[in-house]
């Protein structure tokens, strides 16, 4: 870490936005101080069970990023710390004073074992579980906390309050408790500051009419989220707090404290996310228990984001969620039954009805974090009228009024996770422009050094982990056993193998015993593998010659009452590790140079914004535009409604941006030019451009910013036939020209060609705002005209709500139509146009003579097919480009080196587009700044002699890493053959191709068939004891292995019959592996992976599902019952589920009895 200001950036707030910004900056080689006031990073997202619209497990997708933050050498994680003071220096840097609050725990010594918390006598309400559970005064906030270190809460600790107790100090096996710790004030120098302090939820105790504190079964949405979570207080069972029973009816109430411009305790803006997350919670609740009736009471159903509208449709049609368009005024309790009475106005009959619910979930307004006032004073940056931090302007949406201070996420205003993440990357891009760092390219490992011809000499270090392992597993016995295993030349035990003195010991022993491979039997590789890998690397060994045997999370912690069996299992796990380690090979991290230039396709607002950032960082940018001028779609608009409730001239925005790219020498604008051909991959793309002449440019990265366009609604409501039927853009032109009649009637129809049942199913999110803008303009220019808006749900958010209020107030009338009974537009004999519409709110049909009928149409994708094929990137069902992950990778493609900016990804407003574009630039800059890309060493390698060119692997690879290369036939030179080739720069290492290859031509490095099978053999051929049943489980690294760890951290006790084998993805699990496992006599095989949609390699789990299904069907051919093989989806937070699956499976297999293929007789029936 560097102390020079110009190399440092401070990030305030460790939620998902802060984490993303930190990772993006660190990836550019910049030193990051990530300051978080609570004991762990993770923010609100860590509390969520699932995320919409994919229902991804929130922790599964966040936790790897949290762990990466703690491991990254460029990130200094300062949790439990606060910013006290910021001074701007003469050079434009910042001197920041940070308070590091005492945890009263030595961070270096604490291992996060949790023993202190177990013995702490104090029990107080848990913040993480939203007071639905208790924690102790000495505590780790949640099992996946980063850093995984205890803190002592001095306001509740008996030692601090009454000078008694100190139990934790006596119990801590690591002697980490230190009651004498003092607060530390640290001063750091930074070049830029990113604020990512997030949001809070409105305090519901003011809402007495909803009975929030009065009735136990009225919960806030975040409380309900904890009830849904597998790691929550009920283990993921939805139960009523009043009686612990399962609710039959749940009512979700939207807009609690939002969209209210009257009451002091409420907020006038729309909180944007509630409709969608209420839908998510309703879906998950029904997935937990299909008997639950879920009702969502809303005012306007507002879902802004890609795929969200389809999500709502799915909720309504498939999950049978009931949507009621009515907000209840009050909630009462039926004192007889305890049911909650929710009054509402029925949509179709206008009747007043009462819904009897067992549980009511209130969706409170998103409000600014409580520390914003103080922080704004310390930093000198402005707040908006609601108390959120104020962005500079529309074309610089993450900047503030002070240079060098940027905004990321919900501290700037209401937003969802994808936008927060995009904004975080954008803020990182802007902050990085203020830094200068020198990049040192890692030394290349020369192929020769990799050769390892000696016999394996393995050293095994077995950890007591205080009493965490040693209290259950007889460690000395395991050490003695280790010494008997083949290739093990040294074995010992350590109290804490992870302590710094043990690292020295390991290095010493490597030298002393000429060890060439090392095994540590301790905790999970997910957290500790990097530490030990760097230790052996320092001792001169290749880091891939290391293996961890997980005897804590997956042994001692889950078999606490069976020390004998746990010890036997630990021996098995160790023996399996030894077998695998003997076959490990050194791996090289291959680097590849990156051409220091980028290509940006499309010079609209997004493309120009992306290009500017990359060029400002000092790289050449080719900005290619198909049209003859820059500006993209918004050239067609006169003004644009921005984030707040003000309008801005589009010409000004375009001119300003155009000017800024013209003066930037690094940008070469190529107008009237199209892309003709793209070859190569990240680091070295060669792109042929066709303008007046043809030319080829070489670039390291590519940004796709091709934008979208307006639907011309031919065939809808007489457009194209009736002269007076226009689009909003055409109307805007007429208003501008002043060619309309004063006193006329203007009827606007929303959602024309959008939110359809089939085809264009999405909501374009920006059209409602456009409608309001033009309605306002009409009323201003022609005050005596009558403007009628026919809408379905009026979708504006944030300050847009107040804009909508003002427009209603101005006399614009709104009628709500039913898509099943849409308005009719007819041309009458006298050339007048008439609109007939059934207003669902009054159940009345209105006949409106209209001078103009204006259709609000969605933003649609250009024809992106040709470009998508050239770039080998996917598009979605609507023709927009498809990002790598909707939530956490909104500006990236699955293919490295190609990024996505603005409306090419889906409809967005202008600030969102610009933030998105700057985020894409941040990603595209990482390889450019580093100057090299490192390829994942765990990649597939094709044996060209074995490859038959079937292209099966090409189809299953989700990353475009496999291509078919033409080679000369071995036998006859004039015959050309095609062989698969894997580009290591693009391969992510899931291993699906290897499992799918029918001829075994693909070898998956570090997870080779030999290595995997060696563990199977070791497990089954000579076990220490052979319990009955004996089960082998294959777990994917990201979800199920993490789920098994979670079960361990949560101490969910399980049978000792299972031996786990970790692979990166279930996609790696070949049919051969499973069959061999059965052939060797396993009584059962469990395959566990991520839930569909959660796969870290996009779809590896789905391929496995196909293979396991097939195997299940043919299992009886080898005399086995199909129940002996099971595939289960277990996420990283589903520790409880993991335990249940294992327990149940063991029961099932027990009933079936031993496998007929058993080679080793049953030595012990458990």
């Amino acid at each position: 870490m560097s102390t020079s200001a110009i190399q440092n950036v401070l990030i305030i707030g460790g939620g998902v936005a802060g984490i993303q910004a930190a990772l993006d900056l660190a990836a550019q080689g910049i030193s990051v101080y990530l300051v978080e006031k609570t004991p762990s990073i993770g923010g609100k997202m860590a509390q969520l069970d699932k995320t919409f619209p994919t229902n991804d497990c929130s922790m599964c997708i966040l936790s790897p990023k949290m762990v990466e933050c703690s491991r990254h050498p460029n990130i200094r994680l300062w949790t439990y710390s606060e910013v006290l003071d910021v001074q701007r220096t003469d050079q434009g840097y910042y001197k920041v004073k940070i308070l590091r609050k005492p945890r009263y725990i030595d961070e270096e010594k604490c291992t996060g074992c949790g023993i202190c918390a177990m013995h702490c006598p104090v029990k107080i309400l848990s913040e993480f579980n939203e007071s639905l559970d208790k924690r102790s005064a000495t505590y780790v906030p949640f099992p996946q906390a980063v850093p995984l270190i205890s803190s002592i809460d001095e306001t509740h600790c008996l030692n601090f309050q009454f000078k008694i107790c100190q139990t934790c100090k006596h119990m801590c096996p690591a002697e980490a408790v230190d009651f004498d710790q003092k607060p530390i004030e640290a001063i750091i120098d930074v070049a830029a500051i990113i604020i990512a302090t997030g949001f809070e939820l409105l305090d519901l105790s003011h809402f007495t009419r909803y009975g929030y504190l009065q009735y136990k079964n009225v919960l806030s949405s975040l409380e309900f989220e904890r009830l849904l979570s597998a790691s929550g207080p009920t283990g993921g069972h939805v139960l009523c707090p009043s009686n612990g029973k399962e609710p039959k009816t749940i009512a979700f109430i939207a807009c609690v404290g939002s969209r209210d411009c009257v009451h002091a305790n409420a907020r006038p803006y729309c909180s944007k996310i509630c409709c969608t997350y209420a839908t998510k919670q309703a879906i998950i609740a029904r997935e937990h228990d299909p008997h639950i009736d879920a009702y969502i009471l809303y005012n306007d159903l507002r879902t802004f984001g890609k795929g969200f509208e389809e999500y709502i449709t799915k909720a309504e049609n498939i999950y049978n969620i009931n949507y009621l368009k009515s907000l209840p005024g009050e909630i009462m309790e039926d004192s007889q039954t305890g049911e909650l009475l929710v009054g509402y106005g029925d949509f179709t009959t206008l009747e007043k009805k009462i819904l009897r619910a067992d549980l009511v979930v209130l969706c409170p307004a998103m409000i600014p974090a409580s520390g914003n006032d103080e922080l704004s004073q310390i930093l000198g940056i402005g707040l908006d009228e609601y108390g959120f931090f104020k962005a500079k302007d529309v074309s610089d949406p993450v900047a503030t009024n002070i240079p060098g201070i940027f905004l990321a996420g919900a501290c700037e205003g209401v937003k969802d996770i994808p936008l927060s993440v995009a904004q975080a990357s954008a803020a990182a891009a802007k902050a990085a422009l203020r830094t200068e760092v020198e990049i040192t390219k890692p030394e290349l490992v020369i192929e020769k050094e990799l050769a390892l011809e000696e016999e394996p000499r393995i050293g095994a270090f077995i950890c007591h982990c205080g009493i965490n392992i040693g209290g259950v597993v007889k460690v000395p016995e395991v050490v003695d056993y280790a010494k008997t295993l083949p290739n093990v030349v040294y074995a010992t035990d350590n109290l804490y193998t992870c302590s710094s003195d043990t690292q020295e010991l390991i290095k010493e022993k490597i030298k002393e015993h000429r060890l060439n491979r090392v095994i540590v039997a301790s905790c999970t590789p997910r957290t500790h593998e990097p530490l030990f890998r760097s230790t052996i690397e320092e001792a001169g060994l290749n880091p891939f010659l290391f293996e961890l045997a997980n005897i804590r999370e997956q042994c001692s912690w889950i078999h606490m009452r069976e020390p004998e069996d746990a010890t036997e299992k630990a021996k098995d796990l160790l023996r399996m590790a030894v077998a695998r380690t003997s076959l490990l090979e050194p791996q090289a991290i291959i680097t590849k140079d990156v051409i220091p230039a980028a290509l940006v396709i499309g010079a609209g607002v997004s493309g120009m914004s992306s290009a500017k950032i990359i060029a400002d960082k000092g790289f050449k940018v080719y900005l290619v535009e198909r049209d003859c001028s820059v500006g993209g779609f918004i050239k067609n608009l006169k003004s644009i409604r921005t984030h707040g409730d003000y309008e801005q001239d589009t010409k000004e925005i375009i001119n300003e941006l155009e000017e800024s790219i013209r003066v930037q020498e690094n940008i070469e604008l190529l107008a009237s030019t199209e892309i003709k051909e793209v070859i190569g991959s990240i680091g070295e793309f060669s792109v042929t451009l066709q303008g007046d002449t043809e030319q080829t440019v070489n670039v390291g990265t590519i940004i796709v910013a091709t934008g979208g366009t307006e639907l011309k609604p031919v065939g809808y409501y007489g457009y194209g036939e009736i002269e007076s039927v226009l689009t909003q853009t055409e109307l805007e032109e007429l208003i501008h020209e002043g060619n309309l009649n004063e006193g006329g009637t203007f009827v606007m129809i929303n959602c024309v060609g959008a939110r359809e049942k089939e085809g264009r199913t999405y909501c374009s999110a920006i059209c409602c705002g456009e409608t309001l803008k033009n309605a306002k303009a009409l009323k201003e220019k022609y005050p005596h005209s009558s403007v009628v808006v026919l809408y379905r749900d009026l979708r504006v958010f944030g300050a847009g709500e107040e804009y909508y209020h003002a427009i209603r107030d101005s006399g614009v009338r709104f009628l709500r139509y039913d898509p099943d009974n849409p308005p009719e537009v007819t041309q009458l004999a006298d050339d007048k146009t008439q609109v007939k519409v059934f207003d669902t709110l009054l159940e009345t049909t209105f006949v409106i003579p209209a001078d103009k009928v204006i259709l609000s149409t969605p933003l649609i994708a250009h024809n992106n097919k040709a470009l998508a094929e050239m770039l080998k990137v996917p598009t979605d069902s609507q023709g927009f480009f498809l990002e790598a992950h909707v939530k956490l990778r909104p500006v990236e493609f699955a293919t490295d080196g190609i990024y996505l900016a603005g409306t090419a990804q889906g409809p967005k407003n202008i600030e969102e587009s610009i933030a998105h574009a700057q985020a894409a630039a941040a990603k595209a800059l990482i390889p450019l700044v580093l100057g090299y890309v490192e390829s994942e060493p765990i990649v597939g390698v094709v044996d060209p002699e074995a490859c038959v060119g079937c292209e099966f692997c090409v189809d299953v690879c989700q990353f475009g890493a496999i291509s078919m290369e033409e080679v000369e036939s071995e036998e006859l030179a004039f015959i050309k053959e095609f062989k698969a080739e894997i580009n290591p720069a693009l391969c992510k290492g899931c291993g699906t191709c290897s499992s799918e290859c029918q001829v075994g031509a693909i070898r998956m490095q570090h997870f080779t068939d030999d290595q995997i099978l060696s563990m199977v053999h070791a497990a089954l051929e000579e076990p220490a004891t052979s319990p009955e049943p004996f089960i082998v489980a294959f777990l994917c690294n990201w979800c199920s292995y993490a789920g098994a760890d979670n079960a361990g951290v949560s101490r969910f006790q399980q049978p000792t019959n299972v031996r786990n084998i970790r692979v990166m993805c279930t996609g790696r699990i070949d049919m051969i592996h499973i069959l061999e496992t059965f052939a060797l006599g396993a009584d059962g095989v469990l395959v566990m992976g991520c839930h569909p949609g959660d796969c870290h390699y996009i779809a590896g789990n789905l391929r496995t599902e196909v293979r396991v299904k097939f195997l299940t069907e043919v299992l009886d051919a080898i005399g086995l019952e199909s129940e002996r093989l099971r595939l289960e989806w277990v996420s990283a937070s589903e520790g409880k589920k993991f335990e249940e699956v294992v327990t149940k499976f063991v029961e099932t297999i027990k009933k079936l009895g031993p496998s007929p293929h058993r080679k080793i007789p049953v030595t012990k029936a458990i």
Partner: protein, 177 residues
């Protein structure tokens, strides 16, 4: 879809009336965004035909006559909950008062008899009903003087009537004569 209840020609809607309410009362029907908070917590609406949200919406659209002719506006219990909790500042109660006045002014036949009787009584004796004797639970009558209660004071009925007639009640409530 069922056959719609009624078809209304937009050109016949009375926007001026809605505008008048916005300009001259504390109520603003236009800003209503139809959340129905008012109707769902309406005290009277729980047992009566009153649907506040519907009335606000009818006025916002310009369906003046439908509202003035309706009996609903007379069933309001004036508990003020709608006014208290409306998130957009529509102030439905003030609108209902105004509508009641306008209905009287327009001589709507839907004005409940009880209202007329009360007003008539006020005009005649200055009170909504004649004062009762002191009665026990068993309907035994007592003399006020015997109980040493003061004499009942009666308002100046003539003065009240004079002022009441100034408001134009005579035109609609014939009983006043």
């Amino acid at each position: 879809m069922d056959e719609p209840r009624q078809i209304v020609d937009f050109s016949r809607l009375d926007f001026e009336f809605s505008n008048y309410i916005k300009q001259n009362t504390n109520s603003n029907p236009f800003v209503c965004f139809t959340c129905r908070t008012c109707s769902s917590l309406c005290t009277s609406g729980k047992v009566n035909v009153l649907n506040v949200a519907k009335i606000v919406r009818q006025i916002a659209i310009g369906l003046k006559d439908d509202v003035l002719r309706s009996k609903e506006i007379w069933t309001c219990a004036t508990c003020m909950k709608c006014q208290e909790f409306c998130p957009q500042g529509v102030n439905p109660l003030d609108m209902i008062y105004f509508l009641q006045n306008k209905a009287v002014e327009a001589g709507m036949p839907t004005i409940p008899k009880a209202y007329v009787e009360m007003v008539t009584s006020i005009a005649k004796i200055g009170l909504i009903q004649p004062p009762q004797e002191v009665i026990s639970v068993d309907f035994d009558e007592f003399d006020r003087a015997e109980l040493e209660l003061p004499e009942l004071s009666m308002p100046d009925a003539e003065k009240i009537k004079k002022n009441l007639l100034k408001t134009g009640f005579r035109q609609v409530i014939k009983e006043l004569d």
